[in-house]
Every structure is written in structure tokens, then in C-alpha cells.
Symmetry: C2
Subunit: 199 residues, 2 copies
Amino acid sequence: MRTRGDVLELAILGQLQSAPMHGYELRKRLNATLGAFRALSYGSLYPCLKALVVGGWIEATDTADLPHALAGKRARIVYQLTAEGKERLARTLSEAEPAAWEDENFDVRFSLFADTDAETRLRILEGRRTRIVERREAMRRHAQLTRERRDHYTLELQRHGLEQIEREVHWLEDLITAERRPPHPASEAPDPPRTKEQA
Amino acid sequence: MRTRGDVLELAILGQLQSAPMHGYELRKRLNATLGAFRALSYGSLYPCLKALVVGGWIEATDTADLPHALAGKRARIVYQLTAEGKERLARTLSEAEPAAWEDENFDVRFSLFADTDAETRLRILEGRRTRIVERREAMRRHAQLTRERRDHYTLELQRHGLEQIEREVHWLEDLITAERRPPHPASEAPDPPRTKEQA
DNA sequence: TCTGCCATGTAAGCCGTTACATGATTTT
DNA sequence: AAAATCATGTAACGGCTTACATGGCAGA
């Protein structure tokens, strides 16, 4: 069982950046950040954590091996980034590869934008937009071609799908505009795009 | 390699209902009807067709075995529904099981609404709505809880996701309303209460 | 001729889930 | 005392894609 999954790895490294965590907690956070519904299972998570440890990107500490404090609490395995892990995370986050704007990866990359430099953010957003616009055009073309011989429901499905995609494009365009707007980071706005404070 | 996949089977049976077809054509149609992008591969399609033949739901005819006409065209395998296949399709389409409104199945079921009776349509739409509303509530609750400690981008991702889901709910509610409107199917004149015509 | 689309398939592998197994801790 | 939730893991399987293998037919 390989259980690679570039995306999951990145998501985990990204979460561990803000704080060391054990698996159970990590899962809750991940499920929370990326859609409250799509449940990531332990069957994926734990093997992936193992692989990250083997790769040297994270380090596992069993709280049972720490004799000092932590009295009443049960043993848990807390994971934290190694120096290599931090470096790798930083490198990955600075790349704007085409894969970054595919469906499977985009959300994770986007959710880590606070730790991504402005140029990479912009390039990923633009790549994503191109991708989605392509999709929209394909749908429009197809809708045009088959317009006549379709029943009401198929038509409605098509219309709704197209509408959702158009919203997506709009959303991306707003984000791109916003990214381009402030070339002078320290000027106006009562609500500056403050980089997040670590808890 | 099992390659079951209830959904794919249903989609195929549904397509073959309108006309016999060979695999290649079938694939194009399926990819067209359900999202112009998500490419169904031959690696799924052909094994599934085979399984349907074995199950007795469809019948395969190699055009090479028909010596009479069809001169210049190359050999193709044309599939058509058997009597059992038609019956099974009809039975499946009349059921409004919970599975029908899950993500993986809903689109296919919906795209076959033209062959589904009104009551089943309504129940599937309502089931779907309940499901999506649940999801929306989960997101709202979660957004409320974590509102403070989130960076701009995570927040934006959340906001956009919620908006898309709200649109989905709205869409479903419109559809449900439309389904409920004509309770007396054979009463009104062709003019006054006219439901909207699609362009 | 050769490029590209039509047409049918198979084998391997990927990425993930479900179901199982186990047990501690907390809440009711 | 029982039930819920915390916490960690493994084995099996599921459905899909990719890549491979093969070849006919059409038009540049």
C-alpha cells in the first residue's frame, strides 16, 4: 500500500506548520478547512503520516515517552515538522506548477496562500482561471451543438452547471484583481490585508 | 477486476434506451451529457459493457457478423437493451432510494428524469435538497466557530464554497416548486398557465 | 505517405474508502 | 455501568485512470 498522494502530504505539512499535532486532531482540522463534509479517513491519514516520517519531513513524538509532565493524559503521537520538512514545504509553496491549479490540488494550495508569496499566488490564480475558462468554453460549445435534441431536465442540468462554472470564473477574476491592486503594500485601507498572526 | 459501478451501469442503460450504440459513440454521449470535461475512460466503459452483457441486460451485435448491408463501414459492436434490461432500467428509475441523491449518483439520475415518473422525481429532488441543506448548515456552523482565527484566504475559500452550496439549494428549490406546480396534468388550456418555455 | 481519428480492448496501478481490531478516557 | 468519543492503526477492496497493444479507415 503506497498511499502517496502529493496533495495530502502538502495539506499535512501545511497544517503542521501552524502547530505540532497528533493524527486525530490533524484529521479534524483538515476536514474542517477543506470542506466540512468530505471526510478524510484514518485509512489514508495514518499511513501518510508514516510515510512522511520515513521521508524525514516530520518527526513523531509519543507522549508516553515523555515521563515528566502530562500526567493524566493518555498517550498520543504528536507530529512536528523537521527542518527538512519546513524547507520542503517552503519550496513547494513557492512553485506554481500546472498541477497546482488542477481540481485535486487547487483548494489545498489556495488554503495555504497566506504562506505563499504574492507572485506565486497570482500565477496559480491565473492558471486556475485559464483552466476553468477552458472548461466553460467547452460546455458552451457543447450546449450550442446539442441544444435542439435535449429534454427539459438535461437542459436544466447543463444550464445549472454552466452557471456554477461562470461563478467560479467570476470569483477567480475578483481574486486576481485584488491580488494586482496593491502594488504598494503599506499605504491605504483601514483593513489592511494583514498577514495572519500565528496563534 | 470487478468494475461494478452502479452509476455507470445506469448511465449506460439510460443512453441505450434512446438508441442502440457502440462503445465509442456511447462514451462520447456520456461525456457530453454529464459534464463536458470529466472524461470517462475506455478502461471503465468496455469492462462495464461486458458485465452488462453477461448479466443479460444488454445484447451485443458485431456488425461484422451481419453479412448483408453495411458494406464500407468497419466492424463495430453495437449494444442494445434486452427486455430484461428495459425492465431493470424502468425499475431502477422508479425507485427513490437515498443513494439516488448522493453526489456520485444524483447527476445521472437527474439526467434521466425525462424517463422518471413525477413522484419519484419529486422525492429525489427533496432528498437531494435535504442532503445539501445539511451540508450548508455544517459549513455555516463551522464558519461561525472558526471565524476569528482564519486568514483572509481560508475565509474566502469558505465564503465561496458556501455561496456555491447556497446556489445549489436555490436551484433545487426552484425545481421542486416547478415539479409541484401542475397537480392536474390534463386540465389547463395551452395558453394561460403556461410554464416557461426554454429558448 | 503519414497523420489523425475511429474502434476495441487489457494490465497495472493510484488513491482512497469501509470495515475491522483495539483499547483508553470522558460523559451520562 | 453504559455510551460516546478519543486515539491509533491494518487489510481488503472498489472504482477509476493511465498506459499499453492493436488495427482499420479517411483525408492532407
